[in-house]
Every structure is written in C-alpha cells, then in structure tokens.
C-alpha cells in the first residue's frame, strides 16, 4: 500500500444556476492574458449540449484518455509512445481554434471616432487572433440554456448513445448545468502524454501542473486529456491548465471558482487513496464497474490502520485529520451521493458531482403529481428514465444503478426534512429505504443545504504540512528527544558530542533559565553562550574564548 493525499472537489449540480460566475472569476484570475483568450479553465455547460470544446466527449474523434489493449493493459487512446513520437510533427487529433471558438473583441473606438452621419456607429466584432473583422459564429457557451435546441440535440455525444425513443422525449424532459474544471485525475492521461515530462502530479496534494520551464510545446497533452482541460497558449507556445488555484489552496483558501460560486455548491477536501491500487483499478475491463473500482482505491481515514499507514508514508498529521473531516470524503465514500464524471475515460477523475434531482421533481410537479412524495419520487426515477439514463452516460459509463441510488438518497433527504418541517413524526422507514439512519439524513441535509464556509472547504494548508520538517531544519531529521540524555544535555563525550541540541530546545531552556532566575546569564556551570539568548547583563563565562597565557 502506498497511501497518498489528494485535494478533491465535489459539486452539487442541483444548486447550479448556470450563472457562469465561477468561469468569469477564474478567467479574471488565470487566463485574461494574450495567448489564452479562448481558454476557460472553468466552464459551465448546459446539458444536453455540445460542451466546450465542441463535442469533446466524442473520444472516437478526439481520442483522449486511456483504453485497454488486447492484453488488458492501459494504453493511451491516442496511441502509445512510439506513435506519439512518430506523429509529433503534426498532432493528428489536436482541436483547432474553431473547435473552441475564435475569441473576439469589439471595435469600440468606432463608437466615438466615426464621422457624424445619419447612421448610428456600431462596434463591429474583431478577431483577437488576427485583429481583422470577424463573424461571431460560436463561443464557449453558445448553446447555453439549450440555445439552438432541438436542431443541435444530436450534436450532444451522449444523446447519440441513448435509444431513439428516449431521445424523442428530450425537449420536454430536462436541462441542467455542469461546471467543469480539470479533474486532477489519479491516473492523468495528460501527464502520460507529455513527451518532455513537463507535466506532473504533485505528490503532496495530487494537483496536476505543467512546468512552464520544461514544456517544449509538443502539445500532446491537449490530445491526452479526455476532458480537454489542457490548453495551448498560442503566444508562449506552452500548455496551460487549471491549477486548482494551488497558491490559494496551499494557504488553506478555497479555489477562486469555489469561493465565488453563487450557489455555494462546491466542496473541497482531502481524499486519501492507495496509489498502488490505481493502475489495477483503471484496468477494470467492465466500464460500468470503474466507478466502484475507484471507490475501492480510496482509503477510510477513520480506520486506525490506514491512519498509521498514512503517517508512515509521511502524510502530515493535519492532512490525515482533515481527511476525517473532509466533506468530499463524506459525499463520495460515506453517503455515495457524489459520482465521477466519465469514469470510462479511465483517468480516475477527482472532481465529482452530485447528480441533479430537480429535473425529476419539476417534471413530476408539472404532471400534477406531488413532487415531494417519496413514493412518487422513487417511482418517477423509473418512469422518467430519460434523465437517469442521460446522467448515467455522464457519471457511471451508462450504469443507471449508482445514479438512481444517489437520487433516491437525495429524495429521501427531501422527504425526511419535509416531515420534520411540517412537524410530522419521523419515519425511520425513509432513511431505511436508502440504507441510512435518520441521523445520517440530518447530517447529509446539513452538509448539502446549510454547511458553512468552514464545513464546505476543509483544506489543510501546505505550510502547516511542511512545518514539522521546517522547524528543525537546521538539525536533520531525528527527534531531539531520542538521544541519550534527553533535551539540553550533552552527549557522552562532553557538551559537543552526540547529536547537536536542537536550537529550539536550547532556546527553550535558556529562556526558562533567564525568566526564572534573578541573576545574570553568567551562571556557574553554564554552557556555551548563545548570543541570541544573552540578556546583555554581565559577561558570561563562555562569551569570549579563554585568554591564552602570554608567553614571555
């Protein structure tokens, strides 16, 4: 077992109102520079819809992520190492700018400088790439709120996989938003695709980054990522991607998208996992089991054996404690309401989603039923197969069971809470139907509905994690109390033998002496004088070296 820690995110899709605040604040923070005008580290997609870049989920075309070869081993879908190098001169499956969109601005100057005339001057769009006048034909969220539906319905790669009958009923069925960032995968295909080894996963927190000094612009990572979350900066010629706002996370602050999320639907926390088990789990032949295999990779921080193993692996204590309080762990592993996005890409993504129940409640209410009744809701999950099947294509490689289980839990919370609100008696059967207790439902309700800042974001800071190794950095690794004689005492061969006394221990004792004695620092039996501790009084014996006797 090789335990590792990962900072992960969960988004509760029921609460996303599609306001794009997260995208805008992220862009302001990270990608409002030339060269990345078209780049959205965070983007919000309306589903059903094509997404950004267009139809990126069509892996038969874009060949992102992993696949299994004939021997059941993982192979990059875009081809193995030799093939990568052979096609490096022109990557055959790189999205073009048109697949994202051509960024533009407006010719505002014309508004003030146009000569007087009969017509109102206009601010015509201009391409940010060529500076020439351009037509706006597509953008990062052109099909927002089902814009262009139903003509473009079949352009959604997931819709193509559903049965004909189901597809027909789509328009009336539902719509929801999926905000997307880099998944900071456990088995990142982008890292595996990088020929120069410039991309890496940080061993402390699992954040996947591009080393800008080592990137040589081979642009293979763009193809490798099935979520298309590595972007090519066309000015600098280097790849860039979501950093999970590591400068913020390192000091315990949530990412910008989380911080500014209007729906407060994002959760951040630590997941512990067994790095040795990742590859085997990703090799699962049955795509529908990949979700369960990934769950098995996670470690339970409540298990003392796991905690001990983590300590031994050098995971800082406060990280392990944070894992116990992690809202992400609760939603993913404990209550199993959160699901991974496209586990079939085999990258083991680490941004998970709570599927939206609201389209179903809405549909029920619209058909004159009581959308809050548990039986109606449970029944609707089966009759309104469309959303469930669609969600299953998104989150569980097409297996409706985990999606239904998650939605049932969400329905149970609603019902349980409604009874409470109406002053009705608690019905333990409700929690029982989803395999939880009433207390669990209360806890889940709290986590999903009212959790405050500190409960949604449980982020151990990197500085605290490092503190232990930093504080005695002068001294090497051993604990100062471990050697013979204990703190502040000399070794067996006099004061300077043995391991040096840690500066902090020496300071502690010196301060204690100074504060509790009423004489000067010049004390009989005093050791060498540490000038930092010298209180300035008197002339301690060790202050100057002993005078050598003058020879006559």
């Amino acid at each position: 077992m090789k335990p590792m820690a990962q900072l992960a995110m969960v988004m509760n899709l029921d609460k996303c109102i599609g306001c794009h605040t997260c995208s805008v604040t992220c862009k302001q923070t990270w990608t409002n520079r030339a060269g990345v005008e078209y780049v959205w580290f965070n983007n919000v997609e309306t589903r059903p819809g094509q997404g950004y870049p267009r139809r990126h989920e069509d892996q038969e075309k874009w060949r992102g992520g992993w696949e299994l070869n004939a021997r059941g081993r993982l192979r990059l879908k875009a081809g193995g190492r030799l093939r990568k190098l052979a096609t490096i001169f022109s990557n055959p499956v790189l999205p073009e700018l048109a697949d994202y969109y051509e960024p533009w601005t407006y010719d505002y100057k014309n508004l003030t400088e146009a000569p007087a005339g009969d017509d109102m001057p206009t601010a015509a769009p201009r391409s940010l790439i060529t500076g020439k006048p351009t037509d706006i034909v597509w953008s990062a969220n052109w099909d927002d709120d089902l814009g262009g539906m139903p003509e473009h319905l079949d352009d959604d790669p997931l819709v193509g996989r559903l049965s004909e009958k189901v597809r027909g009923q789509f328009e009336e069925a539902f719509m929801f938003y999926v905000p997307r960032i880099c998944e900071h995968c456990l088995n990142p295909a982008c890292v595996a695709s990088c020929p120069s080894g410039a991309m890496y996963k940080r061993s402390e927190d699992g954040i996947v980054l591009v080393d800008q000094d080592r990137c040589r612009g081979w642009r293979m990572c763009v193809t490798g990522c099935p979520y298309k979350k590595v972007y090519f900066n066309h000015r600098t010629g280097k790849a860039e991607k979501c950093t999970l706002c590591y400068p913020r996370m390192e000091v315990g602050l949530p990412t910008v998208c989380s911080e500014t999320c209007v729906g407060r639907l994002r959760y951040l926390g630590v997941m512990l996992y067994d790095a040795d088990a990742v590859t085997a789990a990703a090799c699962e032949p049955d795509e529908k089991k990949l979700y369960h295999r990934q769950l098995d990779v996670f470690l339970d921080p409540e298990d003392p054996a796991v905690r001990q193993e983590c300590e031994r692996a050098g995971i800082p204590h406060d990280w392990i404690e944070a894992a116990r309080r992690s809202p992400v762990h609760a939603l993913i592993s404990k209550y199993r309401v959160a699901l991974p996005l496209h586990p079939e890409y085999r990258t083991m993504p680490m941004v998970w989603y709570i599927p939206p129940l609201s389209p179903i409640v809405d549909a029920l209410a619209a058909s004159g039923h009581d959308g809050e009744s548990l039986d109606n809701l449970f029944g609707a999950l089966d009759t309104l197969r469309i959303p469930v099947d669609y969600l299953a294509e998104l989150f569980t490689a097409g297996d409706p069971e985990p999606v239904r289980a998650s939605l049932e839990t969400l329905a149970a919370i609603r019902n349980h809470q409604r009874r409470k609100n109406l002053g009705e008696e608690e019905d333990p059967g409700i929690a029982g139907r989803v395999g939880l207790s009433g207390q669990d439902l209360d806890d889940l309700f709290r986590l999903l509905a009212i959790a405050k800042y500190g409960e949604r974001y449980v982020i151990p800071s990197a500085a605290a994690g490092d503190a232990r190794s930093l504080e005695e950095s002068v001294l090497g690794d051993g604990c100062s109390l471990e050697f013979d004689g204990g703190p502040g005492m000399g070794g067996p061969f006099g004061e300077t033998s043995g391991q040096p006394v840690p500066a902090s221990v020496e300071t502690f004792h010196a301060l204690k002496e100074r504060q509790t004695s009423d004489s000067s620092a010049d004390k009989p039996g005093g050791r060498r004088v540490n000038l930092l501790n010298w209180d300035g009084n008197g002339r301690p014996a060790g202050l100057f070296p002993a005078r050598r006797k003058k020879e006559k």
Binding site: R81, L82, K84, L85, T87, I88, F89, S90, N91, P92, L94, P95, E96, L97, I129, T130, G131, K132, N187, P188, V191, A192, C194, P195, S196, G197, M199, Y200, K201, R202, S203, E204, D205, L209, D211, Q212, D213, R214, C215, R216, G217, W218, R219, F232, H234, R235, T236, G237, K238, Y246, E250, A462, D466, S469, L470
Partner: protein
C-alpha cells in the same frame, strides 16, 4: 591560402561552434521558458498536417546523411564493404528524396505561414531570417547533390569531410576546402551560419527532442519544493534567503 579562405574555413567554424554551444547553454540557463516549438497547429492544421511531417522527416533524413558522409571517415565506410561507387549511389538515391521532401515541406510551411493570417501574425523577424537561411542551406545542399549526380561523381569525403573533422582536431585543413567545387563551399558556409544561429532561433526545439519519453514511467510525480515559493525556480539572484 587567401585571407577569405582563412576566415571562412579557419575562423567561421569556431565562431559558429562557440555560438552553438554557448547559445544552447545560455538558453538552457536563462530562457527555458522561451524554449518551445511555438506550434501553430491551433491556428491551421490542414496544410501543417502534410507539410510539417514531410519537412521534418526530410530534414532528419538529411541530418543522418550528413553523419554518414561528413562525420564518419571514409575508411570506416570502406571498412564495412561499401565502396566509393556504392556509397555514391546510396548518397544520391537516399539524399535526393530526403532533400526534396525537406524542400517541399519547407516550401509549404513558408507558403502556409505567408497566406494564413493568424500564422503570419505569429511569425517573428527572427523566424523570417531563420527561414531564409534554412531554405538557403537546403537548396544549396540539394544543388550540390544534383550537381554531383550529373557532373560527378565527386568524392567530397576526401575533401569537405576531412576538413570538417579537422576543425574538431583544432587544425583546420583550409587548403582542402579552398579547392572544392563552389557549390559545396557555399553550402558549407551557409550551413555553418545556420548552425551558429540554431540556438538563437525557434530551431532550438530540435535539441529538446523527447527521446527520453520512450523510457520514463507514464505518470510523473513531483514534490512541492518547500524552499521554493513559486512553481518555477527563481531567477539567478532572486533565490530565497534562508
């Protein structure tokens, strides 16, 4: 020995070598961020899809051809049983396709660069100078090969190649070069300029050729460096004081 000959075949090689090595070291130390292919595939890929592999496979073929003809002594080649005639055939019939591929590829790349608005906008002056010299070197190389096939055979391995190696022994045989056909002399001179320019242009991406990718594990883990504040190592003189 004329003074022009001395400058061209006795001084220029060393100037170019110093520029090549010094420039590469300098870029590695101070401009890692600028070391990239600056790929333009995002702007345009239909033409690039044909032109870039054509050019690269051609130029890499030509590179290995130069190793065979210029770097490896004739006696070694003779030693493995390839005589003058066989060598000449190989050099002509492998060299011409490689050279033509490189030339055709480069021509397409240049046309693409000129005609695609966004690619042209991303072309620096440095690039333009580089394309002129690169195109010149390839054309002259091809011209030499064609001349050799038509007028020859001329065995440059007893003149140009000997001079080339003598440069590295620190005793350049200038007289050998002064006596070679003019097309070889111009090709060699332009080639040296290209070599000298190499690290100061986008061509430096060739020195980062990612052969190491074949041998490394797929997933790279790296540790946050506690001594380092940012993601990149600090510039010289800006290291953190401890």
């Amino acid at each position: 020995m004329t003074s022009a000959g001395l400058l061209l075949w006795g001084v220029l090689p060393y100037v170019c070598l110093v520029a090549l090595i010094g420039g590469t070291v300098w870029r590695h130390r101070y401009d890692k961020f600028g070391w990239t292919t600056r790929s333009s595939e995002l702007y345009e890929k239909r033409l690039l899809r044909i032109a870039s592999p054509l050019f690269h496979y051609g130029i890499i073929g030509a590179f290995f051809g130069h190793i065979l003809g210029v770097v490896i002594p004739k006696s070694w080649i003779d030693g493995i049983g390839i005589d003058e005639h066989a060598y000449h055939l190989i050099a002509t019939w492998l060299g011409i396709p490689a050279g033509l591929a490189a030339l055709a590829g480069l021509a397409m790349l240049i046309v693409r660069r000129r005609t695609t608005g966004s690619v042209f906008d991303a072309t620096t002056n440095n690039d333009k100078v580089m394309y002129v010299v690169l195109l010149g070197a390839i054309c002259l190389g091809l011209a030499a090969t064609f001349w050799n096939a038509a007028e020859g055979p001329y065995d440059y391995r007893t003149s140009v190649s000997v001079w080339f190696r003598s440069v590295f022994y620190g005793d350049p045989k200038i007289a050998l070069m002064s006596a070679t056909p003019i097309v070889y002399r111009i090709h060699a001179a332009v080639g040296m300029v290209l070599i000298g320019m190499f690290p100061f242009t986008r061509l430096i991406h060739a020195f980062a050729a990612p052969v190491f990718y074949m041998f490394r594990p797929y997933i790279v883990y790296r540790s946050r460096d506690a001594r380092q504040l940012g993601a990149r190592s600090p510039q010289r003189g800006w290291e953190r004081v401890r």
